[in-house]
């Protein structure tokens, strides 16, 4: 049995190494990459789950290629949200060398001095990155981060169920699709959608505007089938819902599985997000981290990576060698006039975050269909039952 298992594992591994894409290292500067070859170094990378090309689907195994090229061991671990990453950094106790947070979290990390300035002299390949991505709101001086991926969000809909010609944010608030709409299950993105619909800034700190947004979301609630994150894949692909909001790259993979689906970036503008590579202030191995960042910026590596992740690449050199079909896909690389309408999230002041969180909880807990009486009544019933049982028991005991 054991033998069988191992031979199976071995066969499948061989099968994979044959299929996986490998890197042509002849074009790389070997002197640069191999300067730490025999120093037994290791590098701690903390990235989103499923967010690097890992050798499956005939893609390139980036971490393995990097280890083979530089002799530096990569310890790779994953997180699920920016907030999770923030907690791990803030508490300390773990020293990561590379982290890949999103825009608004980078701004916060810079403000709290949890990330350090990057020495771009040691990262020659960073010149491949389009400068517009690190001159954004989150890292105005461009000293702390190197853009990794970017994308926009929009509406994904089922053409069999949605017959309208022009799909815009207002469709998410249309009675016609009652019980057919999927919304984000996180306050920032959900508020962002309603704010874009109301023509407010996605970074508004105006209390009136936030309350108005919350009112709109509350009104929308009866129309919403479910508040989801990654459950949207299954629901949209199986045709359980007519429309939903999600990120462009992920929507494309839904379309691959169900050709009836279509994705649109509303004209009024949407959220533009950037995930970028940073080095935490308590990193143990900054030199290896610089090598790693440089490796990720190499045209071929970046291309293999972005083909796996399916988001937009900020890497000009990678875009140059990309297939025309992908390069010209207006959903992954929307034209400039669409991008001009899009807005990047920036870190909001604490009071705004608090208010948003409060309003969000209000939206989720406000359940008009139950009229709000279900909880108190069931509580009363439970208490009454308990009392009854105790009284009956005592009575029985007394009779005995």
């Amino acid at each position: 049995m054991k033998k069988l298992f191992f031979s199976f594992a071995l066969v499948s591994m061989c099968f994979y190494s044959l299929n996986a894409q490998t890197l042509d290292t002849s074009k790389l500067d070997l002197n640069y990459y191999q300067k730490f070859k025999d120093k037994n170094m290791s590098l701690n990378v903390y990235n989103w789950g499923e967010y690097i090309s890992d050798g499956s689907d005939e893609s390139m195994d980036i971490n393995k290629e990097f280890e083979e090229l530089t002799g530096i061991k990569v310890n790779y671990s994953t997180f699920a949200s920016n907030e999770e990453l923030y907690v791990k950094l803030k508490v300390g106790g773990i020293a990561y060398d590379i982290i890949i947070p999103s825009d608004y979290m980078i701004a916060k990390l810079i403000k709290e001095k949890l990330v350090q300035k990057i020495n771009f002299n040691n990262i020659p390949a960073a010149k491949n990155i389009d400068s517009r991505f690190y001159k954004q709101l989150y890292d105005p001086t461009g000293e702390y981060s190197v853009a990794y991926t970017w994308g926009v969000n929009g509406i994904i809909y089922n053409t069999k169920k949605v017959t309208e010609d022009i799909v815009d944010w207002n469709i998410l608030f249309n009675d016609k699709y009652k019980g057919q709409i999927l919304m984000y299950y996180n306050p920032r993105d959900a508020f962002g959608v309603a704010q874009a619909y109301l023509n407010y800034s996605l970074n508004t700190t105006n209390e009136m505007e936030l309350r108005e947004t919350a009112r709109i979301l509350k009104e929308q609630k009866p129309l919403v089938q479910a508040y989801v994150m990654d459950e949207i894949y299954d629901k949209m692909e199986a045709g359980e819902a007519a429309l939903g909001v999600y990120y462009a790259g992920d929507s494309l993979s839904m379309i691959e599985n169900n050709p009836d689906l279509k994705f649109v970036i509303p004209e009024k503008g949407a959220n533009l997000f950037v995930d970028a590579i940073c080095i935490p202030s308590n990193a143990q191995n900054v030199e290896a981290a610089e090598l790693y960042i440089n490796f990720l910026c190499e045209a071929e590596v970046a291309l293999a990576n972005i083909e796996y992740i399916n988001y937009g690449s900020p890497n000009n050199a990678a875009i140059e060698i990309m297939s025309e079909e992908v390069k010209n896909n207006p959903l992954i690389y929307p034209p400039a006039e669409v991008l001009d309408n899009c807005e990047v999230y920036i870190t909001l002041p604490d009071e705004t975050n608090l208010l948003m969180e409060e309003l969000w909880n209000e939206i989720l807990s406000d359940d008009s269909t139950y009229g709000g009486w279900v909880v108190p009544i069931s509580l009363v019933v439970v208490v009454a039952l308990c009392v009854a049982i105790i009284v009956l028991r005592k009575k029985k005991r007394r009779e005995n």
Binding site: W48, I94, D230
Partner: protein, 270 residues
């Protein structure tokens, strides 16, 4: 008759609710498409990919290592604690048991965060050490609660008889007390093992870079789609557990048969 049918359907429903999710998971681990919504064809690809996915395999291995080490240590510590507690007087006993129950009732997230803060204050490096320490901490109460009842059931005169027959206290302890409470120890160990395998919240706060466990890896996939390789590894785990249980049960049945045969023989001879 009607009663029988009703009870049978009731049981059938319970089993349906218990096992339908697992059955669906196993079913979709053979699905060609990445999604769980539609079945597009049979494939073994996800199993194939699973064996070449380093992240999933290492986190699975980490989970196993942490579960094994922490449950063994927790069993040893917990058994010793239980023996100690059983010799206390009544007041002291109930006080200690109260403290033991607290760590079970305590929300896991509180345990996780407080352990994390403790480790930070102690300047421990997050990794296997902290993770195993944390798992031992939340496993000990389960062992104690499984061993204590066995100690209470135990007949103290057996131990005394062993002493009378010339055993030293240590020898009597190993030869009489331990075998007597052994089922409780095993139950406690198994419980600690399952809790350790399952745990997400505490591990999430106390794991380090090289000690990420499978539940954390799965959770981190939720931004993008959870990979069907997870269905595959869950199926593998489920099958292993099922096979082990079947083997254990068959052995038990055989043992019981053997015992009843012995009894019959014994009765005949008398």
């Amino acid at each position: 008759m009607i009663k029988k049918i009703l009870s049978r359907t009731y049981i059938a429903f319970i089993f349906l609710f218990l096992y339908a999710p697992i059955a669906i998971l196993i079913f979709f681990s053979f699905n060609k498409a990445r999604g769980r919504g539609v079945f597009t064809g049979f494939t073994l690809e996800w199993y194939n990919r699973l064996f070449s996915n380093d992240l999933i395999l290492t986190s699975f291995l980490n989970t196993i290592i942490v579960a094994a080490v922490s449950s063994v240590l927790a069993t040893i510590i917990g058994t010793m604690a239980a023996i100690g507690i059983s010799s206390f007087n009544k007041k002291m006993k109930s006080a200690i048991m109260g403290v033991t129950y607290i760590s079970i009732i305590n929300p896991e997230i509180v345990t996780g965060v407080s352990l994390m803060l403790l480790f930070v204050i102690m300047k421990l490096k997050f990794g296997f050490t902290t993770l195993i320490l944390a798992h031992i901490t939340f496993n000990i109460p389960y062992v104690i609660l499984n061993v204590l009842p066995k100690l209470r059931q135990q007949d103290n005169s057996l131990y005394e008889a062993a002493l009378d027959l010339g055993c030293t206290p240590t020898l009597a302890f190993w030869k009489v007390v331990i075998p007597d409470i052994f089922p409780g120890i095993v139950a406690g160990f198994l419980m600690a093992l399952t809790y350790s395998l399952d745990d997400f919240v505490v591990s999430y706060f106390t794991s380090g870079i090289t000690s990420q466990t499978l539940p954390i890896t799965i959770y981190s996939m939720t931004r993008k789609r959870v990979s069907p390789e997870i269905n595959a590894i869950s199926t593998v785990i489920f099958t292993i557990v099922l096979i082990t249980l079947v083997i254990i049960n068959i052995k038990e049945i055989k043992k019981e048969k053997y015992l009843t045969q012995l009894k019959r023989k014994f009765n005949k001879n008398n």
